[in-house]
């Protein structure tokens, strides 16, 4: 059993309410933080090695220390609860089952950053979670963890929940800020970075839900202790939301010290591939990161076991590796068609492009159309090269990383499953009749684990 720092108490009856949460040791991290200076809290987070859990994996302590602090200008902390990356549903789980953990982390982080108004920007579809958060905030207010002069510290802080209204792009931090200002979610050109000019042009930190919740155990056990969990630069625990063709889909908290093989096949986690089938492919970190065929997923190109860590998942770069991303772990069994799956992702990115940059706006539409053609038996061999060419022209040529996020899944699908695309082109009749891809990519290691 790995160590649980975030979800350990998530199943305690009544933990959603303040009383049980407090009895279980809740808000001790805030008490501790308020006895420290804000700088000391930032230092503790630095020591922990915590990396942002929203997707990019940027060191949180460093991000906090970049926050500009001009005199007389308010600073803001914004919690990113937009969670819209396909395959990702971990923040929802955390907020739904143990909402006070996030609120506690937010109070401590607001103290560290000097944010008197802190916002949780949550995707509009999570409507019932808004009620859960509002309730937790009301309770925290009633018990003096929010409001004026929190526990006699002289620090004032209020947390507000802001709903989005359906737009993946608002998960990108500058689009989120625009949306929070009441505008369309068009990402801003950086620099200036939010740390200098963010919400209402004030210095702003945007952090993911899981990142901010992790501040609680970091303060409780100390940054150094936290850094001992995991491996290398992947410290602490990580929430993984697992979905697709596995026996036990759900949200798991892992030590970043287990192998991908263990994660997929052990009963503690995914419980193996559903229906006794074999593993064909997996997107390990949310729809934007490269898909890997079974053999590259379980073993790196060097033949080493691949681990559930930032470093190991990206080992081999995009040639033979992928990324930890947001921890959205999507598993495809041997009967799944990679072309069809990639088509749904291309449609997603076309739908979600904000339209500011032509490579992204036009390119995502082109990719969807071409994939649609191939999937429906009307593709040509040249289409595969055209797809490759389009994705290459999007990547790196846009205002925000959504362009890359749209390009990578298509590139990886062609890179690793080219003959499946060719099969679609060469077997137009058959691919109209049945939707199965080629099973020869599937794993032979299925029984390797006891």
């Amino acid at each position: 059993m790995g160590r649980k720092l975030l979800l350990e108490k998530a199943n305690v009856p009544g933990i959603r309410g303040y009383d049980v949460y407090r009895q279980q040791g809740g808000y001790a991290a805030v008490e501790k933080a308020l006895r420290m200076t804000p700088e000391e809290v930032v230092e503790e987070v630095k020591k922990s090695g915590l990396r942002g859990r929203g997707g990019a994996g940027f060191p949180t302590g460093m991000k906090w220390s970049f926050l500009a602090k001009p005199a007389g200008v308010p600073r803001y902390l914004v919690c990113n609860a937009d969670e819209s990356e396909p395959g990702t549903f971990k923040d929802r789980y955390l907020m739904e089952f143990i909402p006070h953990l996030l609120i506690e982390g937010l109070v401590a982080a607001s103290w560290a950053l000097g944010s008197n108004r802190t916002y949780i920007y949550i995707r509009g579809e999570y409507a019932w979670i808004v009620d859960i958060l509002e309730q937790a905030i009301a309770e925290a207010n009633a018990h003096g963890w929010l409001g004026k002069n929190i526990k006699g510290s002289g620090f004032d802080c209020q947390i507000y929940v802001q709903r989005g209204a359906g737009a993946y792009i608002c998960g990108e931090e500058t689009a989120l800020i625009e949306s929070l200002e009441g505008k369309r979610g068009n990402p801003r050109i950086k620099p200036p970075f939010p740390a200098v000019k963010g919400l209402w042009d004030c210095p702003t930190v945007v952090n993911n839900v899981e990142t901010l919740a992790a501040v609680v155990p970091i303060l409780n056990i100390g940054g150094e202790e936290y850094a001992k969990i995991g491996t290398g630069k992947s410290t602490g625990t990580k929430l993984i939301s697992a979905c697709g063709n596995i026996n036990r889909p759900g949200v798991y908290e892992i030590d970043m010290a287990i192998s991908v093989e263990e994660f997929i096949y052990s009963e503690e986690y995914c419980g193996g591939i559903a229906g006794g089938k074999r593993l064909k492919a997996c997107i390990p970190g949310g729809s934007s990161v490269p898909i890997l065929p079974a053999k590259l997923l379980l073993r790196t190109a060097k033949g080493e076991p691949r681990m559930m860590t930032y470093e190991s998942l990206s080992d081999g770069g995009f040639q033979s590796g992928s990324m930890m991303g947001s921890g959205g772990f999507i598993v495809l069994d041997e009967d799944q068609c990679v072309v069809r799956h990639t088509l749904t992702l291309a449609r997603f990115y076309r739908h979600e492009s904000c339209g500011q940059c032509s490579p992204c706006r036009e390119g995502t539409g082109w990719m969807e159309k071409i994939l649609h053609r191939i999937e429906h038996g009307q593709g040509r061999t040249a289409d595969i090269d055209l797809l490759w060419d389009i994705q290459r022209r999007i990547e790196g040529n846009t205002i925000c990383p959504l362009g890359d996020a749209a390009a990578w899944p298509v590139a990886a699908a062609i890179r690793h499953f080219r003959d499946e695309f060719e099969w679609h082109v060469n077997n137009p009749e058959e691919c109209r009749r049945r939707n199965y891809g080629l099973a020869h990519y599937a794993d032979e290691l299925v029984s390797a684990l006891p």
Binding site: G87, R92, C243, P249, G250, F348
Partner: protein, 165 residues
């Protein structure tokens, strides 16, 4: 004008505006539009949008450009019960296409259409953050997960009963 917003709603708008610093009431736009939509048969007519603009001191165009950007705003009337079925990759792996097919045949409408009695609208939407509980749909404020044809039938029945009560 000002026909749709009750005093209670205006008080709620004031509470929302209070979340932001002085002069930043534009930030209230999305929450207020969501509230207005919920109060006005689940869609935003130009009149309702203009009213929201007037309440917040915004130009009409500032409201329209936001209302047209976000997928949760309906700019046309919709049915009383809107089935928003997720169709993105992870849900596809778990058979959402069959679920959408089943709903289409049960309700006799295509994706994007509303039944003639105005009871149901079917939409295919993108990932809702429920991929592990697929196939799924959003129905109003809640998610309906682990859908099967039988569960879909039960949901349709539930909606019909609700509308008769």
């Amino acid at each position: 004008m000002m026909a749709k917003f009750t005093d209670d709603m205006k008080a709620e708008v004031a509470r929302i505006v209070d979340r932001y610093p002085e002069g930043k009431q534009k930030s209230a736009l999305i929450p207020v539009l969501l509230m207005a939509q919920a109060a006005c048969d689940n869609w935003l007519s130009p009149e309702v949008m203009d009213e929201v603009g007037a309440l917040l001191g915004l130009e009409p165009i500032e409201v329209y450009e936001v209302a047209t950007f976000y997928s949760m705003f309906n700019l046309q009337p919709v049915g009383r019960h809107v089935f928003e079925v997720c169709q993105t990759g992870p849900c596809m792996l778990k058979g959402c296409d069959d679920i959408i097919g089943h709903i289409r045949s049960r309700l006799g409408i295509g994706v994007g259409e509303t039944t003639p009695d105005g009871l149901f609208t079917l939409k295919a939407v993108e990932c809702l953050g429920a991929c592990g509980y697929a196939p799924m749909m959003q129905l109003g404020k809640t998610y309906r997960e682990h859908l099967t044809p039988e569960r879909v039938d039960a949901i349709i029945e539930e909606c019909r009963n609700m509308s008769m009560a």
